[in-house]
Structures are given as C-alpha cells and as structure tokens.
C-alpha cells in the first residue's frame, strides 16, 4: 500500500473518530488543527489504525509523532 492509499484510509478513520465527514488531513496537519483531537481521541485513533493495518505503535510514536505526514510515513514503513 502506498502513501496516498494509507493517507486515504487514515482520513477515513479520522472522520469517524472526530465526527467530521468533511475532514481533510494534510501532511502538515497537527492535533491542534482538528476539532476534538485530544488525548482520548488520539489514543482511539492510534488503536483504530493499529487494528486496520495490523501494526503496533511504539510509545515514542504514540507520544512523539509531530504531524499527520509523519504518522502516515511510519505506517507505510511498518507495512512494507
């Protein structure tokens, strides 16, 4: 699965969790840009992504990922 596809899937999951059908994620999107992205929804998002792609994030990724672009890159790296 390529970068674009992963981004699409992540967007789909994020729309469900943040209850926003029109949500658009970009590489530079950070938590503060998205309404409702707090620690609880962040952990829910991480969990959904883990289930969807069958991967496991490390703590440094859960707590240290800076923006959506970095998140997608980590997923791509993990599934390839």
């Amino acid at each position: 699965m390529g970068y674009e596809e992963v981004m699409e899937k992540v967007t789909e999951i994020a729309r469900e969790i943040f209850e926003d059908e029109e949500l658009v994620l970009k590489d530079e999107t950070v938590a503060a840009d998205v309404d409702g992205w707090d620690s609880l929804t962040h952990l829910a998002l991480m969990n959904e992504i883990e289930n969807e792609f069958e991967i496991k994030f490390q703590m440094k990724e859960v707590q240290g990922i800076k923006n959506v672009g970095e998140l997608v890159r980590v997923i791509v790296e993990r599934i390839s």
Binding site: S39, L43, Q63
Partner: protein
Amino acid sequence: MTFTSLEFIFIFFPLCIAGYYLLPKKCRNYFLLAASLVFYAAGEWKRMYILVAGIIVNYVFGLLLSREYKAKKAKLLILISSIIYNFGILFYYKLLLYRYGSGVILPLGLSYFTFRTVSYCLDVYWEMMPANKNIADVALYISFFPQISMGPISSYSDFARDMYERSFDTRLFLDGVKRIIMGLFKKLVIANSLVGLVDASFNMDPASRSISLAWLGLIAYLIQLYFDFAGYSDIAIGLGGMFGFTLPENFNYPYAASSLKDFWNRWHMTLGAWMKSYIYIPIFRACQGKKMKQLTCYLLGSLGVWLFSGAWHGVGMKTIYFGLYYFLFIAGERLFEDWKKARRKKLGLKKRPDTLLEKTGAHIYAAVFILIGQLLFKCQSVSQYVGYLGSMLGITGNSANQTETYFYLKQDIVILVIGGIFSFPLIPFATKRIKAAGGEKVIKALSPVVYLVLFLISLAFAFTSTYKSFVYFMF
C-alpha cells in the same frame, strides 16, 4: 531563598544574569548548573545529598536503560528499579508527614525533581531521547534553579532541546523581564495580602463563622491559591526566558473553565501533562493491548491519574477523597459526552456548537464544583471540610453576618477586585480590542511605565512582607 526574597531579587539573580552573559557560550550550561547548586544549597544544605544522589543514580540508570540486553525483561527491571528509587524517597517523606504531621518539611523541590528524574528514565526507556553521556547535563536538567522548587515541570525531551539549541532572543529576554514583574506582583501584592482573611475564616469554628465570612474566605482562598502558584510560575518562566529557555506554561485562566476536565487542563498544566505522558497513556495503551473496550481503558487510565494526583496533593484518607472527587466528575463528564455522541449518531444529527444557555450553564456548573473541590484541597481533614461547607450553607447554627466580614471586606476589597479581574482573561481581551482599534502604539508606549509601577509596588510589598512561603512548597 525564594524568588520573592530580597536576597534573590538583589543579589543572586543579578549575579546570575551578569555571570551568564559575560561567559562564552560553551560555559553557560556549566554556569547555570553551578548557580542551580548554589541556589539549592542556600535553601536545603543539610539534605542536599538527596538531590546529588538523585543526579548520580539517574545518570547511571539512563546509561543502563540505553543499552541492549539479551534477557527480554532486563530493561523493564531496570526501569522499575529507577521508578521505585525515585518515588520511594518521595513516598518515604510522605509517610513521615502522615506519621508526624505538619511538623515534617519535605526537602526543597523533592516532588518536582522526582518528576524530572522519572521523566528522564522513561524518555530514555521509550527511546524518545538517547541517554545523556554528560552527567553535568543530566544534573542541569534535574536541578535547574528556576524550576526546582515548584516547577513548571518540563519533560526531559523538551528541556534537552533548549539545553543544546537555544540562542539569545531579545524578545524572549524582554518577555522574561515582564513575566518576572507580573509574577512578583501576583505573589507579593495579591496572594500574600489575602493570607489574613483566609486564615481568619478557616481558623474559626463552624458555629461562629458566619455565612458571609465563609463565602468571602473561600473566594479569597481561591484567589490566593491561584495567584500564589501562578505568580511563582510566571517568575520561573520569566527566569527561564532570560536564559534562553522556553519553559512550559502552567496556567491558562483556570477559573474561566467550562468543565472540571477543562479546569484541570488549565490548572497546574505541567503536572497534568506529566501525568498524561507517564501515567494515563501507559495505562491506556496497556489496556488497549489487552483488547479492552475504549471506555474501560479510559476509566482505568483516568483512575490511575486521579489516585496519583490525590496521593501527591495530600496525605492519609484525604488523598483518596480528593482523587475520587475529580475522577467521578471528570469520568461523568466523559460519559455525558459519549451519551451525546451516541444520541447524535442514532438520530443522524450533526455536531453543533453550544448555545449561549448551554455555555452559561457549563460555566456555572464548573464554578460551583471548582469552589467545592478547592475547599477540599484546602481543608486538612474531612471534619474541617464538612464544618466549612456547613458554615457556607448556614446550617451550623451560625449567623448570616459578623463584624469580621465588614472588616476584611473593607481591608481587602481592592485586592479582591484586582484578583478577580486578573483571574479571567479580561486584560488580553481588552488589549486585543485596543489593538484592533489602532491603539497598538499607545500600549507599546505605556507598557514600560505600567511594568515599572507594578515592579515598584511589588518591591514595597517585598520589603514589608512577613509571609515568606509558597502554598505549593509543601508538596
């Protein structure tokens, strides 16, 4: 030596700034370390070995945690030992406090440097940061004098960035000066002035404390507590800024909160951030790993945070009550949000912004339960708490009014009003309005004068003040 003492303002602080900027860049971290150790020794010479041992032990733990081991559990075991060592000392002193009462005084900054040592070990364990090979840098992180006595608590990852990459920034420096003046004013002029009223109200027995004095005393206490700690934090952040460090904010107008969760996102924010990173998220992730439901993970993580917070904020049974009070309210707020979300889904409704009525209701709800929660924070025992609450409600056989109310109201009215104004984001709001109306030049011209006046008033209070301590020193 506290930040508001004359020896700090007129001797230690000027010497630090001068020494720091006279020295070449590569010596500056060493200079700050030396200054921090002098600062600590001046306040806590006898038990300074606890800090020094903490530095050495955690430096070694850091190195051990950054190595690879054949045995799978070896690293985890080292991590657990480090946590037991660091929290063990804090726990020991809390036990002494429980056993012998308030005569026991915690070593200066013990809680705050414990948060830092644990942060260091966990950041290294999680590979968020490499272990530091230079013991002087680890020592600076643990003992940095602007933060050691009462925070704000920086995570190791954040502090390390500034430790190596900061450069002189005029704006940060000048904002630092302003923050220090603001902090001195908050602490010396506002918080300290209300001590008399607060003590008078809380030391009275429930039957002789009138309803009016009970309310006045509690409101004064809320203002005192906030300005005491926020004033200290301003000074700490300002000091850090003058040395080129961007320290994290600790307060964001907590009394303007719209829920108890919101309150704790605005009050002692760095403790909240610390508990989130090192308690809540690890518990939550462990539960997710066990395939538990999202709500169960949330409740367990949250319970962990509040039991810890309770234990940190007090001793004995009170710790449990304090923790459970906030846990139940905040979990309740979460369940209410979940219920609203489920209902929206069921009815196919969209998320909409709150109406004015809902917003007002939320603020009133938050104000009432913050008031009751802070009362619990202040009271030494449950009986004192019940007695005080009884006085407020007028069910202790007390009168509605008494002469003390008028006396203190007359004495402290100016401070209470200023405190009230500064407790809500009215000044930033007004400044924004004035700027929008083209008054930016006026603000720029007036600002130095205002700060000078605030500084002079604060100094006058520093010279006459007899109350030397800070509320949060006792933790």
